[in-house]
Amino acid sequence: MLAVNFLLLGAVLFCIGVYGVLVRRNAVMVLMSIELILNAVNINLVAFSVMNGNLDGQVFALYVIAIAAAEVGVGLAMVLMIYRNRKSIALDELSEMKG
């Protein structure tokens, strides 16, 4: 019952994050959306951990937080470099990878 609420919260956060990743043009906003996705996963992990009475999920959540911090560090550095080169962080202008 309680756990279902946590899972619903995780699902809502995940959807908001996916929406943000897909529609926002601002790279910083996309990074923040990714953080939302990761934290949605964290909530799920902790919720399942409580449900199963097993601490493994919480340990994984700690790992995810650590990885997310690293990911944001790298992501922000890339955004900074893109801004310095192009004076813009709008993602839809970055189409050098077009095949």
Partner: protein, 825 residues
């Protein structure tokens, strides 16, 4: 049913760790091969040390086996329970004196597994195997001591000791085997070492040829070993799995199966025949004996160890070990004229006759060995198991001693020649110790009271007659007279008369000496060490040795050579007393300790053991009522007992009840008289022919056509070599070669040409139709498809991060849906 009172047979450390006896020389072999040349004695110390260790353990195991046997006797005497307990029947021929079956002490590990079958490696010690373990270790050690001096300075000194040690290891492994796979392993190691050692001086082509001949001839027989093992496995496996919790390779299971009455006659006859063919090859029986005299091309210690006292009795040992198979297969119980007995009888006579026409001392001894092996086979084939096994024991001592004496003579007396007529004679004055040992061993070989051969060979002959084989009894006696004859001739030529050739101090051109025989004992190490500068010490020594011979003529050998000879001569004198049947029951140690008791054992008394455990036969006490049946069965006498009727339900026999002849004074006198007659005739002939040059005898083969034909027949070894090489090999090989050539030219070439032509046409058609149209079409088509689909997919690669993200999440969502559906449904 099973009372608390339980009888234990004693065991001991040596019995349970007897596997070390085979393992230690195997490790020694590896050490000699890897590090031997760097050691101060070039590896020989490792060989001596490992065999000494094996001998110590084997001695301990022998003593503990005797204690184990005695402990069974003690239990029986004390409690009187074992008789009923072991469900044993009284020994039929001995008025119902029951002796319990003594379980072998087994300790094995799983070597490898295949489809549920476990192949063990380890030791299974019973009286027969412990006797041979001790014998092999003892003889090997003495022969290696002899070799220290005899092959000193040889170019391949280290390899010689390595091969000798490996051989001992192989023989010990075979003897202690508890399953047929390990028997084959040891058997093949011995075959390999025999090949290596016969061809030790392979620079001489004749030696290499002799090695190949020995190897291939024995291989012909070895096919029988594989076939026989396979037949036994398929025959015995079901019985072994059902009743004894083991598989059809286990020797005990094979023995029990053969005596169980469940085996089909056809299977067991086939198995016995196949196994005996292997024994014919290994033990030099007619008609595959031809390799053994040629094997004398090897160094004398090799002839002494492998080709007289130990390796060639492997076949006899195999027959003795799986005796129930032969007992049932050849119907020995009912006095059937068995294949084994016939072959043994033929071998005794033909090889003894051949020994008369040999000039080479070692070949005389080789044919003598073949003849004595014939006695052992004759004994086994007629139910005289105990005397045959006892003859293995005594024969090893005196025949090994005779060979070492021959080696001593050639080493110090005849300048490395083995030719009795050219290079020997009158040596008794120069080599008194060698002469004494030779005479003792000769008396032992010919069966003169009280030397060793008397107690064993006469027992064989006596038992053969007692078991109803009258003709073979006379064959055996005749063979004994022939033995006395050819040994007298050899003794006279070597040690009496006037010195000739090298024995008289003449200097031969070495190639002259050795041109007509293949015993290039002296020539090879000498010339090799002279040529090889990297062995400075050997060079000096060899030269010194040869110089000594040339200067001083014949002389007595050194201590290292004489010591083993004297020890062996001692055993040749006294070993017969270890089973002196005519002296009474208390002298029959072999009967007590070596011969397995022909008593049925209840299945539930046999403790099946896993790998790594040693067996103790724990005999559960049976309630009183269980004995009723046995008492009645015992009264029936010959119709019951192991090997003379099927064992009772839920019991197994491991050895048939063989009959032992009662020694009779008249028979002993008869055999002694025959031997004496043989001696008298031979001495008279030798004096007349070799000393006085009696004109009636000299040149007889030139004057009398009968004598000439007989001589040529013998000198050509019954034309058996011709038969094998010219008739069989050529007769089989040449038509096959011709046919193969014809087939090659007509059929194969035609086929190949036809196939080539067809291939060319097919190729053209394939090129036109398949290559051009189908393959090219497919290639072009796939390129076209790839190009088009690439164009179609191009928009996906927009370069926009959002699109990529959408694709990613969309794909993840699809994957998640699939997962959910799969898990729900």
């Amino acid at each position: 049913m099973v009372a608390a009172e339980v009888a234990h047979l004693s065991s001991g450390w040596f019995l349970e760790n007897a596997w070390l006896i085979g393992l230690i020389p195997a490790v020694g072999f590896a050490v000699i091969i890897l590090f031997g040349k760097k050691l101060p004695m070039q590896g020989s110390e490792i060989g001596l040390g490992t065999l000494g260790a094996s001998l110590v353990i084997a001695t301990g195991a022998g003593i503990q086996w005797m204690q184990r046997t005695n402990s069974a006797e003690g239990e029986e005497a004390a409690a009187g329970v074992l008789r009923g307990i072991a469900r044993s029947l009284p020994r039929v021929e001995e008025g119902g004196h029951a002796e319990p079956f003594i379980e072998p002490v087994t300790k094995t590990w799983v070597w490898w597994q295949n489809s549920g079958l476990e192949f063990g490696l380890g030791s299974s010690i019973d009286g027969l195997s412990v006797m041979l373990l001790w014998l092999v270790a003892f003889i090997s050690l003495l022969v290696q001591i002899f070799s220290l001096d005899y092959v000193r300075g040889d170019r391949r000194y280290t390899h010689f000791f390595a091969a000798m040690t490996l051989f001992s290891s192989g023989m010990l492994i075979m003897v202690m085997a508890d399953n047929m796979v390990q028997v084959i392993l040891g058997w093949e190691i011995m075959g390999l070492c025999s090949f290596l050692l016969i061809g030790h001086w392979w620079e001489e082509e004749a030696n290499a040829i002799a090695a190949l001949k020995a190897f291939f001839t024995v291989r012909v027989g070895d096919v029988g070993l594989l076939v026989g093992t396979a037949i036994l496995f398929f025959g015995a496996n079901q019985y072994a799995v059902d009743n004894l919790d083991t598989n059809g390779f286990n020797l005990g299971a094979i023995q029990a199966w053969a005596l169980s009455g469940e085996a089909s006659t056809w299977t067991i006859v086939m198995a016995a025949t196949a196994l005996f063919i292997a024994c014919i090859g290994k033990s030099g029986q007619f008609p595959l004996h031809t390799w053994l005299p040629d094997a004398m091309a090897g160094p004398t210690p090799v002839s002494s160890l492998l080709h007289s006292s130990t390796m060639v009795v492997a076949g006899v040992f195999l027959v003795a070990q799986v005796y129930p198979v032969f007992w049932e297969g050849f119907n020995i119980a009912n006095g059937g004229l068995s294949f084994i007995a016939v072959i043994g009888g033929i071998t005794i006579v033909i090889s003894a006759l051949l020994a008369f026409v040999q000039d080479d001392i070692k070949k005389v001894l080789a044919y003598s060995t073949v003849s004595q092996l014939g006695y052992m086979m004759l004994g086994l084939g007629t139910g005289a198991w105990l005397p045959a096994v006892f003859h293995i024991f005594t024969h090893a001592f005196f025949k090994c001693c005779l060979f070492l004496c021959a080696g001593s003579v050639s080493h110090s007396g005849s300048h490395h020649s083995f030719d009795m007529k050219k290079d020997m004679g009158g040596l008794r004055k120069y080599m008194p110790i060698t002469f004494g040992a030779w005479v003792v061993s000769t008396l032992a070989l010919t069966g003169v009271f009280p030397f060793a051969g008397f107690w064993s060979k006469d027992e064989i002959i006596d038992n053969v007659g007692n078991n109803g084989y009258t003709f073979l009894f006379w064959v055996g006696l005749g063979g004994a007279a022939l033995t006395a004859g050819y040994m007298t001739r050899a003794t006279y030529l070597v040690f009496f008369g006037e010195p000739r050739g090298a024995a008289a101090g003449e200097h031969h051109d070495e190639h002259d000496v050795h041109a007509d025989d293949h015993q290039l004992v002296g020539a090879v190490p000498h010339s090799l060490s002279a040529a090889a500068n990297d062995h400075g010490d050997d060079h000096d020594h060899a030269d010194h040795g040869h110089g000594g011979h040339d200067d001083h003529g014949p002389h007595e050998s050194g201590k290292l050579i004489l010591f083993p000879i004297v020890v062996l001569a001692f055993f040749a004198t006294v070993s017969g007393f270890s089973n002196a049947t005519p002296l009474g029951e208390s002298w029959e140690q072999f009967k007590k300790f070596v011969e397995p008791r022909p008593e049925a054992v209840a299945f539930d008394a046999i403790i099946a053991t896993g790998p790594g455990e040693s067996v103790q036969l724990v005999v559960p006490a049976v309630d009183e009522g269980g004995d009723d049946g046995h008492g009645e069965a015992a009264d029936d006498g010959h119709s019951t007992g192991c090997g003379r009727g099927d064992p009772e339900a839920a019991t197994a026999c491991f050895f048939p009840a063989v009959v032992h002849a009662e020694p009779k004074f008249a028979k002993i006198l008869l055999s002694l008289a025959v031997v004496a007659a043989g001696y008298a005739a031979a001495i008279a002939f030798c004096v007349a022919f070799y000393k006085k040059r009696d004109p009636r005898l000299v040149g007889l083969t030139e004057r009398s056509r009968v004598a000439r034909a007989g001589y040529l027949f013998l000198a050509n070894k019954y034309y058996l070599d011709h038969l094998y090489e010219k008739v069989i090999v050529r007769g089989v090989a040449h038509p096959i070669a011709d046919a193969a050539y014809w087939i090659n030219q007509r059929v194969l070439d035609g086929a190949v040409n036809g196939v080539g032509e067809g291939g060319k046409r097919a190729g053209n058609w394939v090129y036109d139709n398949i290559d051009q149209k189908l393959v090219d079409g497919a290639v072009n088509g796939s390129g076209f498809v790839a190009s088009e689909s690439g164009h179609a997919m191009q928009p996906v690669q927009s370069g926009k991060v959002n699109h990529y993200g959408a694709l990613l999440f969309g794909a993840a969502a699809v994957g998640a849906i699939v997962l959910v559906i799969l898990n729900v449904s």
